[in-house]
Symmetry: C2
Subunit: 365 residues, 2 copies
C-alpha cells in the first residue's frame, strides 16, 4: 500500500498513494492568504533596522531593500493552525493569531540556528547573519520571539493565555532540540532513539503546537488540544524523516540546497544513524569512513568530489538507512492518523487534516 | 541638598544625602533569599548542557563546574518586584514569580548583548560566549527568555497573563534599546535625546516591569501598575545615568570593569553625548579627538595609555558632561519620587520604595 522510489528528487514515500495532495494547495493558500498580512503587520511593528532585516529574512525584500516575491516556504504550519481552529468548531480566522505566532517562533529559530550552525544559504539566498551580520541575526530572532508572545497575549482572553503557554512549552522543546543537535556534532555515535528525540523536539514540537493552537484559541478543551498536539507531533516526525531523506537524496533545484547537503555538513540524520545501527559489512564500512571523515579539517572535507559523497550515500542506502527512514516516515504518518481518529470533528475538516498529512510525506522540498 | 564628589569610586550623586541606604540591604537580601531558590529551580529545568552554562553565567559554578559563591549582582530588580506585590496589598511572596521572570529576561539580554558587543568579561569572569562559545550564549539566552514566560504562565491566572503581557512589552523595548545601542556605534553623532530614549528602552523598561509586575500578580488594577511602571522607568534612567558615570569614573575594584571602561569601548554614553552637545572650546576639542578615535582600528585604540583616556575623561568633565549626568540622575530620581506620590500604599511600603531609589543613585558599582 505504499510507494518508495529511489531516484533523486522523486516521490520519497507515500502512505496513501491515491491521496489527493492537490486538494492541499487551497489549504496552504488559505493559510498564506489569511496569515501573511497579519504577519507582515506584526513585523512592521519592529523598530528599524530590525523591520528591514526581518523583511529580508521572510523574503519580502531583497538585500538592497527592493520589494521581492520571496519564497515564503510551504506554509504547512499556518494551514494547520487554521484547520485546528475549525476542528474546535470555530472559524478558521480564529486560528490566525496562532498561525502568526507559530510562524514568528519558527523564524526566530531559523535566524538563530543558521548562525549557530554557520549555514550561509536559506531559500536560495544569503542567511541573515551572512547578509546583515551576527548581531542582527541574534537581535531580530529575539524580537520575533517576543513578538510571537505579544501577538497572542494582546488578545487578552484566558484562551490566549493557554495558547501562549503551549507555544512557550513548544519553544522550550525547540531550543532543547537545537541543543541536542549541536551536541551530536561533537559525538562519534548517536543512537536512533536519540536522533528521534532530537527531531521530536526540533520539528515535532512546533508542528504539534500549530496543530493545536487554533483549537485552543477557538475554545477547545485541553483533551482535544492534547490529541491534536499528538497528531502534529507525529506529523512533525514524519515531516523530518522526509526532510532527512531530501537532505541526502533531494533534488537541489527543488530543495534550494546543494547536493548531498546533510552529508557535506556531516549531519547525523536519521538515514545515517539508522545505517550505522543496522550492522553488517556496509554499515561497518560506513562507520569507518565517517569516523575518518570526522577527523578531517572542515576545509579538506568541503573539497570532496560529488563521487566521494555519492559513495557515502550509496553505503547508507545499502546498509538500509534509506529504507528505514522511508518506513519511519510512514510509521509516524500512521501514528498521526491514529491520534486524529480519537477526536470528534466534522468529516470535511478531518479529511483536510488527512490531506495535509499526506502532503507532508510526499513533498519534494 | 545634594552631594557630588569628583574622586574616582566615590559617591557619585545623591538626591537625599541623609538617606538611610543601609535600610535597603534587608530589602535586597529579602529579594535574593526569596527569589534565588525559585530561580535556581527554574534554571535546573533546562536540559544539559544548558543548565550548566546558565549556572556558570549566574555564578553558581565556576568554569570547571565546581560550586561557586558567585557575585549575583545587586538584586535591585527582585527587591523591587517583591515590594511591588506589597504595594498592591499582597504578600511579598506573590511577587516571586515576577522577580524570577524579570531576572531571567535580564540575564537573557546579558547573554546575548555580551556576544553582540564582544564583551569578554562580566562580574570579574569570562562571559558565556568567551567561556562556552557563541552557540551556547545564543541558545541559553533563548532558553532563559522562554523560561521567563513559562514561570509566569504556569500560574494560570488572568493576572499572570497580564504580567506576561507587560513583561513581553518590556522585553521588546529591551531589544529595541540594544538595536539602538548597536546603531549608535556606527554613527558619528548621537543626540542627548536619542541616548535617553535608548537608555529608557535598555534599562528603564525592565526596571519599570520589576516595579509593577508584583503588583499585577498581587491583583492591582492597570492604573496602579502603570504608575509603578512610571516610577520604575525613571528609576531605571537614574540607575543608567549613574552607570554611565561609573563607566568612566568608577573604581575598577568595585565595578569589576577596567578603568575608563566605556571610553575604551568608545561608547556614546550620557556624559559623552552631553559634553559633545554642550558647545564651547572643551566640547569642540573633545569632538575632534573622538572623531579621530573613531577612525582608528580597534587594536591601535586598545593600546592607548591610561593618560590618553584620562585626557578624554577630563575634557568630558570640563565640558560639563559629568555634572550634567549627575544632575540627570537627580532629575530622574525626582520624577520617580513624583510618580510614587500618586499611588496609594502603606507609609512603610512607600518608605522602602524611596530607600531603594536612593540606593540606586548613590551606589558605587
Amino acid at each position: 500500500m505504499s510507494t518508495t522510489t529511489k531516484n533523486r528528487g522523486e516521490t520519497v514515500t507515500s502512505a496513501t498513494p491515491a491521496a489527493d495532495t492537490a486538494g492541499v494547495m487551497p489549504l496552504l493558500e488559505r493559510g498564506r492568504t489569511l496569515a501573511t498580512p497579519v504577519l507582515r503587520a506584526a513585523v512592521h511593528r519592529l523598530a528599524p533596522p530590525m523591520n528591514t532585516v526581518a523583511a529580508y529574512h521572510f523574503g519580502w525584500i531583497d538585500a538592497e531593500g527592493n520589494p521581492a516575491e520571496g519564497d515564503g516556504g510551504k506554509a504547512v504550519r499556518p494551514a494547520l493552525a487554521l484547520l485546528s481552529a475549525e476542528a474546535a468548531g470555530a472559524a478558521p480566522e480564529a486560528g490566525v493569531p496562532g498561525a502568526v505566532a507559530v510562524e514568528l517562533v519558527h523564524n526566530f529559530s531559523l535566524l538563530h540556528d543558521d548562525l549557530m550552525d554557520g549555514d550561509e544559504q536559506r531559500r536560495h539566498r544569503n542567511t541573515v547573519w551572512k547578509e546583515h551580520g551576527p548581531a542582527q541575526a541574534i537581535l531580530v530572532g529575539d524580537a520575533l520571539f517576543a513578538l510571537a508572545n505579544e501577538i497572542l497575549l494582546e488578545i487578552g482572553t484566558v484562551e490566549a493565555g493557554r495558547a501562549t503557554r503551549r507555544l512557550t512549552a513548544a519553544t522550550r522543546k525547540l531550543i532543547d532540540g537545537q541543543a541536542q543537535d549541536i551536541s551530536f556534532e561533537h559525538r562519534e555515535r548517536v543512537t536512533v532513539e536519540e536522533c528521534l528525540e532530537m527531531e521530536g523536539n526540533k520539528t515535532g514540537a512546533l508542528l504539534a503546537c500549530a496543530a493545536s493552537i487554533g483549537a485552543v484559541l477557538g475554545g477547545a478543551d485541553d483533551r482535544t488540544a492534547d490529541i491534536l498536539e499528538r497528531y502534529g507531533h507525529h506529523l512533525g516526525l514524519a515531516f523530518q524523516a522526509v526532510d532527512d531523506l531530501l537532505g541526502i537524496w533531494g533534488n537541489p533545484e527543488a530543495t534550494g540546497k546543494r547536493t548531498w547537503s546533510d552529508l557535506r555538513q556531516r549531519k547525523k540524520s536519521l538515514p545515517v544513524v539508522a545505517a550505522l545501527a543496522a550492522g553488517g559489512p556496509d554499515s561497518e564500512r560506513l562507520a569507518q569512513i565517517l569516523a575518518a571523515d570526522a577527523r578531517k579539517p572542515e576545509e579538506e572535507f568541503a573539497d570532496f568530489s560529488e563521487e566521494e559523497f555519492a559513495v557515502r550515500a550509496a553505503l547508507i542506502e545499502q546498509a538500509g538507512g534509506r529504507d528505514w527512514t522511508s518506513q519511519e516516515a510512514r510509521r509516524q504518518h500512521a501514528t498521526a492518523m491514529e491520534a486524529l481518529g480519537s477526536v470528534d470533528m466534522p468529516a470535511e475538516i478531518r479529511a483536510r487534516f488527512v490531506a495535509l498529512a499526506d502532503f507532508v510525506v510526499v513533498r519534494k522540498r
